[in-house]
Symmetry: C2
Subunit: 358 residues, 2 copies
Amino acid sequence: MRHHRLFTPGPVEVETENLQALATPQLHHRSKEFSQLFDSIQEKLKRLLYTENPVFIFSSSATGAMEAAVTNGVKKKCLNLVNGAFSKRWHQITAYNGVPCDALSIEWNKAIKPEMVREKLDTGEYDAVTLVFNETSTGTMNPLKEIAEVVKEYDDVFLFVDAVSAMAGVKIEVDKLGIDMCLAGLQKCFALPSGLAVSPVSERLLERAKEVPPRSYYFNLNIMHKYYQRSQTPVTPAIPHLFALDRQLDYILNEEGLENRFARHERMAAIVQKWARTHFDTYPERGYESKTLTCIENTRGISVKELNERLMNEYGMRISNGYGELKEKTFRIAHMGDAQVQDVKGLLAVIDDILGLE
Amino acid sequence: MRHHRLFTPGPVEVETENLQALATPQLHHRSKEFSQLFDSIQEKLKRLLYTENPVFIFSSSATGAMEAAVTNGVKKKCLNLVNGAFSKRWHQITAYNGVPCDALSIEWNKAIKPEMVREKLDTGEYDAVTLVFNETSTGTMNPLKEIAEVVKEYDDVFLFVDAVSAMAGVKIEVDKLGIDMCLAGLQKCFALPSGLAVSPVSERLLERAKEVPPRSYYFNLNIMHKYYQRSQTPVTPAIPHLFALDRQLDYILNEEGLENRFARHERMAAIVQKWARTHFDTYPERGYESKTLTCIENTRGISVKELNERLMNEYGMRISNGYGELKEKTFRIAHMGDAQVQDVKGLLAVIDDILGLE
């Protein structure tokens, strides 16, 4: 059977060369060869993220890295900015770990604005902010740069960014923006399988983590950092993913090139957005549409389930229904990772055929 | 370059067919195909572990599953049985998570005895016990059956077992022994790459987890269980590993057969132990030697580092030095996973050559 081509906002299609890299024979995680692989990945991730900070590799999904941020990085209280399912989850994670927190919740089709953040931080209550840059549930891209500039005005407030469905598809200058953690899984714009999460970690976060009462061993940043000093990880990571990540970073940095990759994501986003507005509408607030996935408001009242089933059965392609309560009210097309303009155009053309659009 | 054959107690050699299974194109973690894969793995893991309980799949290393056990399963106080590096780590994990706990620590070359456990449980202080069945750091196999029988005498005391370097190599009848969690990573006796951990979870543990104040979101057993009801996982797991695990379980259950697999591990252990006692000595207390790795006491004062370097450079094979403070005082040979009798005999023969043994 031909496998379904994934236009879902993660997992996405993985190139054959990267699948093959997964199948490299194992090496020992306490060997010189492992440390070389680790260092090679470090150096490339730093270039991808415009950072001098060590890039931590979490043997978990990105949800685990979200837990790491709030369990290590909050002494007073955390402000969670909520405008979608994944930002809501970060608030839940914070609460589940017994970390003091408040949510600033707004409507899901609206973007977080810098002035909302300033108003809350002016209370002096908070020493950390969590922001989901690109809300995979709604297709909203929050104004990271503007929000980061506001957070920077407050000396002791740390910024944690979920860049899950943006990293490696959209430029994020981590150090310039002063982001203390900027986390992502590999199964989105990296176009690799799920199984690891990555995030640069700032020096001041490592310092704060020493002052906070420990809330987890597995996600303790200082334990991880101790091992990184000798280019190892405290636990055995998913070694197949490291082989594939190293290979894919070479491709991203040296073959495609970062600027080309970001530009390709911009082009694909423009194509899908235009199509969405011609036949339906886009869900997020105007001007805050994601560059990596488009959330389409189902203004025609089509059956999204049926559309997806026909796409799968007749064309072997898969898109995503709306998330949670947005099911059938919206649907989502991912244009991220290694998907090309022609792939997206082909998908839209067959959707046109199925729905009888012109 | 020929890759080093791993006789290390994890990671171990992975068969080509399993490496290839990792390279299967991705499927979506919210698809029917994923649920079929999930169900298939469930059914096979239950057979492997002689259990009717759902087998949880942790998107983490086994260390994460250790954290899950103590954060979900302790209301009063946890008794951590410590006779090696990994049982010591479980005690640290418990403490780091703010879970009340005591360690019962004995010498590392001794096994935990059932009567030691009874004495502690008689105090009535504890409602959970952690035991590392097979201490990878010392090659000691604790008497699981006897200890489980003692724990069973106490109605509300839960038993958590780290079976990391034993599961799928040694028979563990989880339900009969009344084990509430029995956890392992895939990179040991499963002979797969690291990147996931598995553990059956008892019904009473899920009940207790509801009564315990939440200590983690990522490792919350009830959140995970909610998703398992529809054959999904809450976070995107390492899908390549699931493909390989499904394939390898078929091999273990239907091609090699469980009894044959356990018998092969027994045979390999006997060979290496005999060799060790002829030329050196074995480190653990007599009668408690591991069936999956042998920890050899360096009675000849050889340079283990040099031996391993010669093995790697001249033969492309790798064993392990002693763990932590046992470095150079001991060394470890793994005979687990898909390693065959002839592989182990070949290794010992070249060690004989290198060291000039007869």
